[in-house]
């Protein structure tokens, strides 16, 4: 942690020192944001931050292995991240099970839909304060410190991934702060990834049920299971026509 230096005789920090360190702190605080914005978040040198260098985290979901009556992924996310959906249209839903029926043939299918962690996220483009942002490892997040709750990102998301917190929140999980008046969405269990768990709650739960419909990994790492899977088997993006290059890919829709 960067600490402004104390005076050698142990006296209290003077106001001048605070101002000097405050200016330094402000610059260090703003500089990453400016850099991110100016350079579009290109990969930094390894070790500059806490992220795995040149990573792109993503999911691969096989709809054929996803039973219609299973929502383990939804329950797991709900427990891990501390949100609840009781059926009200104001309740949040970070991940949802969607049931499909092909109009021309009548074939049915089911799969989970969550934030697709686009490479060119419309939500990031439209956020006036930059609260909706993309981390260098591809995870799209809402920085709730900066979110003013304008909901423009919710208008812009092609996948209806975002929810607005409509009531005061208590009893949050300590790893997932959530509060009234901000917008939230699947953050790819960023707290789990950053502490090295190597997976997300939904994928863990899906694997535990034995369905193995979901896979998590680093799309940019040619040795990872997910990279090998997407380079071998056909997979598609939702709304591929929008050209957003999503981090979540689906098979057998």
């Amino acid at each position: 942690m960067i600490i402004p230096s104390e005076k050698p005789n142990g006296a209290e920090i003077s106001r001048r020192d605070i101002l000097k360190s405050g200016a330094a702190l402000a610059t260090v605080t703003l500089a990453p944001g400016v850099t991110l914005m100016a350079f579009g978040g290109t990969a930094k040198a390894a070790g500059d931050d806490g992220l795995k260098p040149n990573a792109r985290w993503g999911l691969l979901i096989d709809a054929a292995k996803c039973p219609e009556d299973c929502s383990a992924c939804v329950s797991a996310c709900s427990t891990e991240q501390g949100w609840e959906n009781n059926g009200l249209d104001t309740d949040p839903q970070w991940i949802r099970k969607v049931t499909l029926r092909e109009k021309e043939t009548g074939r049915t299918n089911s799969l989970p839909v969550m934030c697709q962690h686009c490479e060119k996220p419309p939500c990031v483009d439209v956020c006036p304060t930059g609260a909706s942002f993309k981390r260098e490892d591809g995870i799209v997040l809402v920085n709730r410190h900066t979110c003013i709750g304008c909901r423009y990102c919710m208008m812009a998301c092609p996948f209806k991934a975002r929810s607005f917190v409509a009531e005061p929140v208590t009893g949050q999980r300590t790893s997932t702060p959530r509060g009234k008046g901000t917008v939230e969405s699947c953050n790819l269990c960023v707290h789990k990834i950053d502490r090295g768990d190597g997976t997300t709650a939904c994928v863990e739960a899906c694997t535990a049920t034995g369905n193995n419909a979901m896979m998590f990994g680093d799309l940019n790492d040619p040795e990872s299971d997910i990279a090998k899977a997407v380079s071998t088997y056909a997979s598609v993006e939702l709304r591929a026509d929008l050209g957003l290059n999503l981090g979540v890919r689906y098979q057998n829709i």
Binding site: M37, G130, G149, K160, P168, L238
Partner: protein, 403 residues
């Protein structure tokens, strides 16, 4: 022809009564804001499917009307139409006050308006919303400078010309930005169209002129000043043209959508079986907001029909609200087409028309914005020399009368 005399409003009981009425509405809006800040937006009709509701309809109407109100003075200063010059000051004041009212509603509708200042230094310049915030604030400054050039003595006519031209271009940018808030959203079938920006420009001409005329009629009747029938007739005819322009853009927008196969589902819903949205489109936007006003405004003897002008302006405003409700709320009600070719269902309202029941408080917030705009305009008229005192037909430019 006399020189136009501008005089402050006198504090008659009528004026005070009107301001008190506005203050009551502003107070009601304040109560609603307090309530929402304390308990969260769960107390309003908003949900995760319809995130911009009635307050945004009011806010965007006021912002568009503000840009159009400025147009009235631009017609005089930029396009040189003498008949409009006497009302230029009022038009500028109205532009500023309508914008303030609209922004107040917009800001108070945020989930965390207390963060607005803090968020100002983490600006995201790729966001058209962020650009709009700059355009709106700049607009107030530019129009204030323009108003100064109109009102101050000894101002170089070139300065006035420059200020008026800057204000005119600025307002076009602002309205284009407002339309692009919707037009640049690829996600939703109802938006995602370059035509939204020019359509909003046409709407600004129409709503701005209508709001200006309503405020002019209201002010002159409350203060017993004259609203020149010649000017009123010219504005009425022009309003008719603007309404026709809006109708043109609406027709082009919907015809183009009908032609695009992936948008036909949306069009058939909104035009035929969208329930409230279909009623508001055909009844509110087209009939009340376009056809009836045009019939009234293009009446051959409109110069004698003061009542027709008032009615037409009111209908345009009502139609404008209907149009914005259809655009803003209707556009969100139609489900996102995430899986083309599939019927979709989920626990998060996928594949179904999204429901929205606005709460009464949301209407109070919106009406409070209009009331705030009128209060600010009223205060400006009371303390500054804005409203002409002798705007009779004799004092409209005789050369223009000869046209």
């Amino acid at each position: 022809m006399e020189r136009i005399v501008y005089r402050e409003l006198r504090s008659t009981p009528k004026v005070w009564g009107f301001m008190a009425l506005c203050a009551a509405f502003v107070g009601a809006a304040g109560i609603e804001v307090y309530y929402v800040e304390k308990y969260g937006s769960i107390v309003t009709g908003l949900n995760n499917q319809i995130v911009w509701g009635v307050p945004h309809v009011f806010a965007i109407f006021l912002i568009i009307a503000a840009s159009g109100a400025l147009n009235v003075s631009s017609i005089g200063s930029v396009f040189g139409k003498m008949a409009y010059k006497p009302v230029a000051r009022l038009a500028n004041l109205l532009a500023i006050s309508l914008l303030m009212g609209g922004l107040a509603v917009l800001v108070l509708d945020l989930g965390r308006p207390d963060r607005l200042i803090m968020a100002m230094y983490t600006y995201n310049f790729t966001s058209i919303f962020a650009w709009n915030i700059l355009l709106y604030s700049g607009f107030m400054g530019v129009v204030a400078v323009y108003l100064y050039t109109l009102m101050a003595r000894g101002v170089d006519p070139r300065a006035l010309k420059a200020a008026s031209l800057l204000a005119f271009v600025w307002r076009l940018a602002l309205t284009t930005g407002t339309g692009s808030i919707f037009g640049w959203l690829v996600a939703r079938t109802a938006y995602d169209s370059a035509i939204m920006a020019p359509m909003f420009i046409a709407m600004s001409f129409s709503f701005g002129m209508a709001m200006f005329m309503l405020v002019m009629i209201l002010t002159t009747s409350l203060t017993r000043r004259v609203y020149s029938p010649e000017l009123r007739t010219r504005q009425a005819r022009l309003l008719g043209v603007f309404v026709a322009a809006v109708l043109y853009f609406v027709i082009v927008h919907h015809l183009s959508n009908i032609y695009l196969a992936k948008k036909t589902a949306y069009e058939s819903w909104i035009l035929l079986n969208g329930g409230i949205y279909t009623w508001l489109f055909w009844g509110g936007q087209i009939l009340i907001g376009s056809i009836l006003p045009m019939i009234l405004l293009f009446h051959p003897r409109i110069d004698t029909k003061k009542g027709y002008v008032l009615l037409a302006a009111l209908l345009v405003v009502i139609g404008g609200f209907a149009q914005l409700y259809v655009i803003i709320v209707g556009g969100q009600a139609f489900p996102l087409d995430i899986f083309p070719g599939f019927e979709v269902s989920s626990s998060f309202s996928d594949g179904v028309i999204n429901e929205y029941t606005p709460s009464l408080g949301e209407f109070f917030l919106g009406l409070g914005g209009i009331a705030l705009a009128l209060m600010i305009a009223g205060l400006g008229m009371k303390f500054l020399r804005i409203v002409p005192d002798n705007l009779s037909d004799d004092n409209v430019d005789p050369a223009a009368l000869a046209d």
